[in-house]
Symmetry: C2
Subunit: 370 residues, 2 copies
Amino acid sequence: MKLMELTPWETPAVIDYKKTMEQFGVKPIVDVLGDLKEEHHFFRRNIILGHRDFERIVDAIKNNKEFAVVSGMMPSGKMHFGHKMVVDLLKFYQKYTDNINIPIADLEAYWARNMSFETTKELALNEYITNYIALGLDPEKINVYLQSKYQKVKDLALILSKRTNWSEMKAIYGFKGETNIGHVFAPIVQVADILHPQLDENLSPEPKPVVVPVGIDQDPHIRLTRDIANRAKEFKFIPPSSTYHRFMTGLLGGKMSSSKPETAIFLTDDEKTVKKKIFSAKTGGRETLEEHKKYGGVPEECVVYELFLYHLILDDKELAEIYQKCRSGELTCGKCKKMAYERVVEFLKDLKEKREQAKEIAVKILEGKY
Amino acid sequence: MKLMELTPWETPAVIDYKKTMEQFGVKPIVDVLGDLKEEHHFFRRNIILGHRDFERIVDAIKNNKEFAVVSGMMPSGKMHFGHKMVVDLLKFYQKYTDNINIPIADLEAYWARNMSFETTKELALNEYITNYIALGLDPEKINVYLQSKYQKVKDLALILSKRTNWSEMKAIYGFKGETNIGHVFAPIVQVADILHPQLDENLSPEPKPVVVPVGIDQDPHIRLTRDIANRAKEFKFIPPSSTYHRFMTGLLGGKMSSSKPETAIFLTDDEKTVKKKIFSAKTGGRETLEEHKKYGGVPEECVVYELFLYHLILDDKELAEIYQKCRSGELTCGKCKKMAYERVVEFLKDLKEKREQAKEIAVKILEGKY
């Protein structure tokens, strides 16, 4: 009976996420998606779970109205499949809008991580923007910018900094006496990143819905942004909408992290590395083949299954079949790993080819020449 | 004997100032002036009393080297003779440099005083810049800018904000939890105002001495600026020099303030108003004419004498004569007031005429068209 209660996408992890969202007052996104649910496997598979005011975006998409998307990047280390997820989301939105804003958080990197502007720019260019383009983002539809170079956002941040105070920043971000003032200012630049699409170049109001796709851990920041939007009445902001997705598990079961190469498949990994990483990955298999056949596997605890769920198998029927065959013990971990390996390698090979041209476009984008 | 100990410029107020300076580690300027002492009555008359690193500026002036001056303005109400003093100082410097920077603190006014950018700009234009030009500042030698519009300074402030922290800002400025973050950021914009002349448009180092003429109450800010200059080694800043002047007393004996019209003669006051203000002013005269003739007046406590000292009598001999005649009781307050009134009226009449053309220049300056 227990087997039947679970579905390929309603895992225990999902249920935990839902509890967290409830605490924060984040609403289940399924309630407002309508037909849109069928449009992306992230919706169908509970990868995007919650939202604030996403009705506005559903309305804009359905009725062909203007809306904007903001999704920042903090370049640190190499891009992996966790990052790809965000790009997939942006690819979904670019079907409906050409107002997709991608701030590169070089000011924050400078203040909070002591990274030079040059280092951040190089990393953003060679690793992030190049892969974003290679993954299929349309250069015509995205506004990629370095925070440190974008006057509109800097000016807006300076103005909006009047709308919050030390007590609030301290409470939200845990700042201390020794926190440098730039670091204290960094979240306000992010607020400006999110709100700037609602203003023209002279900072005059052009209200429109904006959506920010983030992980649930980013919700305090979304709340601050919405509060500041409400306080700065002169700009007539529509409080930004947000969606909350869950994160991929690291290959070894813990967190996925750029700084721990064994936890993630990088978009630039070679075949050999991919093979090693996938075949070392934590699965939901039983200790022995015998037990596996007897009791069945646990896909909910399998990071290879997660690769299928997020990235490698977009057909729901195909995925459901794998899910069932794993749970029944018919499908063994070796087979799954082999399949994952083959698909990842094929995907990365194709991506590598696309990166060559993408790099040229990325250079032009950062030079403002695209 | 007591009479002889005093000089026309070594007043008890001056002695108090010197004590304060000593506490802060500010040095007496007379020690480094050399021949320059004779160049301005502010030096000769102890109106500028102290300094930090002013040797650098003396050296630059004597040896015809490059240096810059920074003197901010916070437009609030109408300009009075206290403000004129700062312009007189800048007129002194413009004989030796064309790098005179005059930031208009519209960001600070917005954050700390809730003034709109438009209000500050109008006030700066109609009242301050117009009078600055009419008083004799050379439009070719000054760089007047609105903080909110000057990218170089804003960008520098964002970078330098990494070099101080909440504890330091709180200790210097007394900020509290409810202080808005813009207000916390305002002193860093001022630091950037002072340091920016040492950088080119791309923020690459062009080290040069900079002097900031301020009142002694501004010294904590000068110290912060010098500390940040030392911390931000990548910019190769020369720590800015400063001079400290004393302030004119208000006409009624207390503080001079734009918001209390009876305490100051405004540069736009008409004859009748000037007459009323000067004849109501606090003097160092005795209670009766008889006593005055017997004991003599006290010019050190006379705001009319201060008008002579700061603005109306530039000839030292003439001033010394008035000083002695007052102290001996020969010169009565009525006569001094009449003389002050006549000179102020003549000065303001001339200034009014000059303002007409100056206004046009001021408009062009703020439009960046001068």
